[in-house]
Symmetry: C2
Subunit: 228 residues, 2 copies
Amino acid sequence: MKDGPDIARIAALIGDPARANILTALMSGKALTATELAREAGVTLQTTSGHLAKLERGGLTRALKQGRHKYVSLADDEVARVLEALMGLAAKAGHLRTRTGPRDEALRKARVCYNHLAGDMGTRLYDRFIVRGYLGRDGESLILTGSGAAFVRDFGIDLDALDKGRAPLCRDCLDWSERRAHLAGSLGRVLLTRFEELGWARRDPATRVVHFSQSGESQFDRLVQGVT
Amino acid sequence: MKDGPDIARIAALIGDPARANILTALMSGKALTATELAREAGVTLQTTSGHLAKLERGGLTRALKQGRHKYVSLADDEVARVLEALMGLAAKAGHLRTRTGPRDEALRKARVCYNHLAGDMGTRLYDRFIVRGYLGRDGESLILTGSGAAFVRDFGIDLDALDKGRAPLCRDCLDWSERRAHLAGSLGRVLLTRFEELGWARRDPATRVVHFSQSGESQFDRLVQGVT
DNA sequence: TAAATGGTTCGACTATGGTCGAACTATGAA
DNA sequence: TTCATAGTTCGACCATAGTCGAACCATTTA
């Protein structure tokens, strides 16, 4: 009965409501400070401090002390993927909990998932990149093709600056609302940033919703629909 | 702070050691009876009964009453994927817990993951199918190509019988020991069954280890290495 | 320096929930 | 029928761990 790694340890770590709220908040990809997380989790700062220590020891989060602030972020984008997958299960198995309120609607349409675009618009972007041959498969890993690199560069992104980090450029991430993949990895991150730069979209700092302006959304649609 | 589905509920469900043991045991893909699971989990039958009720209500397992026995299995292969992903995190984050014992070695080499082959041999099989063009990508989903179908049929598998189920034929599943994908879905399942039929391999009923016979392993190697 | 803000540590309280013994139901075998 | 095995339910016990108040560091600002 001791097969494989100790799955209960980290599942229990995620299983506490306060910690789950913290992790969900961190799915925005932004590094949040302890007090912000306390507000998000609905518990006091002392309690949060204890939770953060546990999450860190469990390898789920990373903390960076800067001045008198403690900036916390998810340890890894694998952690984000696991959380997203858990949300998928919860959305399906959680019986009646799927009452789609108005904000829920917005979350389904476009939200941020560990710094990249998720939701309906995220999966549409991903699909389009696949169909156009911008993204390909090399064995198991996702790669950016030559034409894809050209397109991305043309979109105003400095690819060479990205390659410096050792984090994978592309990755797919299962979307809990769409139940399909969207683009993750550093490329996914920089694309969302570019959308913000262009004024197409802005993130709601409180929720994980990504708001597109009217012109931004139409431009995005044009990008995604293409001619082919 | 109520964004998305309730992730803590099911994470807590997985987070109890006894329940985690139960779920891990069910990763073998076989439907196990309550007493077997009780032995596996290391708790009494009464306790197990309670756990099983919770797991079922949480949508993680399915139960089938047959005579005076209760056969329990994982609800979904999405559940299996989440568990496998959690194992990946635990294997990485779980600091010192990665002392590779001898049985652990066998688990890494070949094990069963919800009825399909996982571990080193599973990923090798998957990679080979990709390289040979047996498996392809259609957008986000994994598909069996024409040549792949021909090969599988030639291997003695009745594909038409498989298509009847509405479960996806192919699916990739992240391997916690190899940290790469292996083949899941009904095709993955039937392939493992075929290996057993051919006498190449047999499952250890107690652990999740898949034992290959010497000739079986060499034949598998030939299958995977090929000429190309 | 003092005051204020951000975090941590300690201790005590409390409750949720896992655990088992015992009694009970249900199915199958003799 | 009686006996045995498989599961469930109930009740009581108990431990783990989440929670906050209070006091305590640390850093920045006045």
